[in-house]
């Protein structure tokens, strides 16, 4: 359709151009047909002039019905013609009438030129272009979107749909979050209230049973008597049981003497041991740890097998508590299970285990030397520390053998053990350490030599001092030599010319400064 419009417009323009040429030759009122067409558009009604729109398709059948309309205003006629064309209703052509007689465009141009020249019509000045013109122009073109979506014809709607969906999801999510929080809080508040109520309910019977019943009576307590204090109905409630367990465990930590035994007996009588053992099988690490604490506190030896499963757990807390529990519970267990641990021991764990091992070492053979053969360095170091802290002099020979093949860190710990226990080590062991590249090893070896060294160590120290070591090392070595062999120290200082040596000597012999 647009092609047809263009073609007809081109022909019209050609006609106008042609007419203007003719017109221009005569009197040149209109420069060309375009200016004449513009004149007609602006002029409105021209006396004696009429414009008819003819349906070109219908004209062949019946000429009387082929007239679409007659207009005295060229602009209006042109507008109707364009509207019909753009709407696709018909494609009319325009007929020019001068005093109701059909004429050509050129004739019309001539007629209007004469009218103008004779002053019979006043040419109207062109109105300034208004928005109306733009709207008219725009209305001639059918709307078509600049971009069209390939898959969604209503792309705008699709975007709105996405936005609405996102907002809806957000609100739904927020609603459920708030709902969840409210439910969670209400449940927690309810549990807290229940715990407080159960706490009150438990305190009385627990106090009474602990003071009124002997251990034997507690162990042989009938169900009727038990349920009189702790109702059977309540014992089926998880929160009640949880409060009961917490209370008995807390009390066990703060009580001593026969009360502890009574609490343990009551714990088993109430079958709370089953609750604790069940916790060990939980997939939640905090429940497992809580179960381990309960098993440990209540000495539930029947749970040792289950506790063993957690010794090498990847969770630090589970692992630590499991080892502590095993050490406390098992009568037959030694430290070989610790030797096989793959995870490094933290200082906190070492402290915790040491507390238990210290307590157990007097009554049980823990085979601490098994730790020396562990593939885990932190376990070996822990073994050396145990030798030192527990005073296991009989294991020093074993450490001496291991000394050659171990790392500097372990050498330091072994040397510390020898020095702390005051047992003379093999002189070559200290000599070798004195010649180490590691300052820390040399320093500890020098300190050990000062306490447990011999003549050969003094010679080695003098040899190293002659090489002119750095100040820090020189100080450590001189201090050690002074303790180990005062005569040799004196001789070395007197012979030495190094001003630093004299300064250190002054410091070491000063009664006030020597320990600073």
């Amino acid at each position: 359709m647009s092609v047809r419009n263009t073609v007809s417009l081109v022909f019209l323009l050609l006609g106008i151009v042609n007419a203007s040429v003719v017109f221009g030759q005569d009197d040149e009122v209109f420069a060309d047909s375009t200016s004449f067409a513009d004149f007609l558009m602006n002029q409105g009604e021209v006396p004696g002039l009429q414009f008819q729109l003819i349906d070109t398709e219908a004209i062949s059948y019946d000429s009387s019905t082929s007239i679409i309309g007659s207009y005295v205003d060229f602009a209006k006629a042109n507008s109707v013609k364009d509207s019909l064309s753009s709407a696709g209703i018909s494609f009319p052509s325009m007929r020019f009438l001068i005093f109701s007689e059909a004429n050509t465009f050129q004739a019309v141009q001539e007629y209007v030129s004469i009218l103008l020249l004779n002053g019979e019509i006043e040419p109207k000045t062109a109105e300034s272009s208004t928005d109306l013109d733009l709207i008219t122009l725009a209305s001639r073109e059918r709307y078509s979107p600049l971009f069209t979506a390939k898959y969604f014809s209503y792309s705008g709607d699709f975007k709105i749909f996405i936005v609405i969906l996102t907002i809806s999801i957000f609100f739904i999510f927020a609603f459920f979050m708030i709902l969840f929080m409210l439910i969670f809080k209400a449940k927690r508040n309810r549990n807290e209230k229940l715990k407080a109520i159960y706490d009150e309910q438990i305190v009385g019977p627990l106090s009474e049973i602990l003071f009124e019943k002997s251990l034997e009576e507690l162990e042989s307590l009938s169900n009727e008597e038990l349920y009189l204090n702790f109702p059977e109905k309540q014992l089926k409630k998880a929160i009640y049981v949880e409060v009961l367990v917490d209370r008995i465990i807390a009390l066990n930590k703060k009580m001593k003497g026969d009360f502890k035994l009574k609490l343990k007996a009551l714990y088993k009588r109430l079958e709370l041991d089953k609750v604790s053992i069940k916790k060990l099988k939980s997939s939640k690490w905090d429940r497992v740890v809580s179960g381990l604490v309960e098993v440990n506190e209540m000495d539930l030896t029947e749970a040792v097998g289950e506790v063993n499963k957690h010794i090498n757990s990847s969770n630090f807390h589970v692992r630590s508590q499991a080892v502590a529990t095993i050490l406390n519970l098992s009568e037959s267990v030694d430290l070989s299970f610790l030797r096989d641990q793959t995870f490094p021991l933290s200082r906190w764990q070492q402290m915790n285990y040491l507390r238990i091992i210290k307590y157990l070492s007097s009554s049980r053979d823990l085979q601490i030397n098994s730790l020396f053969s562990s593939t885990n360095q932190s376990i070996r170091l822990f073994g050396y520390k145990l030798v030192r802290v527990l005073g296991l002099v009989e294991l020093l020979a074993e450490l001496e053998v291991n000394f050659v093949s171990v790392s500097d860190e372990e050498k330091i710990e072994i040397l510390k053990a020898f020095e702390y226990l005051g047992v003379p080590a093999n002189p070559s062991l200290i000599n070798e350490s004195l010649r180490s590249d590691n300052f820390k090893v040399v320093s500890i070896a020098a300190k050990a030599a000062g306490a447990i060294g011999d003549e050969s160590n003094a010679v080695t120290i003098c040899e190293i001092l002659k090489t002119g070591p750095e100040f820090g090392l020189k100080l450590v070595l001189l201090k050690s030599l002074k303790n180990l062999h005062p005569e040799r120290y004196q001789q070395f200082v007197e012979q030495g010319t190094d001003p630093e040596l004299q300064r250190i000597n002054k410091h070491l012999i000063d009664p006030l400064l020597q320990d600073v």
């Binding site: 305190v203 602990l210 003071f211 209370r247 009390l251 930590k253 703060k254 001593k256 003497g257 502890k260």
Partner: protein, 120 residues
């Protein structure tokens, strides 16, 4: 009947102590925090005070100070965990407490000590 004030935030411990002392025929006043303890010292007639060191609002030492100033004749027993600082224990003794019982403890032992203090 002798009247004993128990200042302890652990409900179970205080109940056990109360139960044991009642068995021996003492009347007990139970409070859970330092402020309530101070109020009780000011308002109640008391023959003895048993207090924990770590309690809410006011610590045991402040309670002892207050009791020494307001009721110097009333004997005080301090119940406390072994883990607590030696300094606190020494300070308590310097303030003139009658006895110190470390936790874990045996309520029967506490009852014997209470009896001994009253007898002396």
């Amino acid at each position: 009947m002798k009247r004993i004030l128990i200042i302890e935030d652990d409900l179970l411990i205080s109940s056990l102590v109360q139960f044991r002392l009642k068995k021996d025929g003492y009347e007990t006043v139970l409070v859970k925090d330092g402020n309530a303890g101070i109020d009780a010292i000011n308002s109640e007639y008391l023959d003895m005070i048993i207090t924990d060191v770590m309690i809410p609002f006011k610590n045991g030492i402040e309670i002892i100070h207050h009791a020494r100033n307001h009721k110097p004749e009333v004997p005080i027993i301090v119940l406390s965990s072994l883990g607590e600082e030696e300094k606190i224990v020494l300070e308590a003794f310097n303030l003139g407490v009658a006895d110190f019982i470390p936790k874990p403890f045996n309520p029967n032992e506490l009852a014997i000590r209470v009896k001994r203090i009253f007898r002396s």
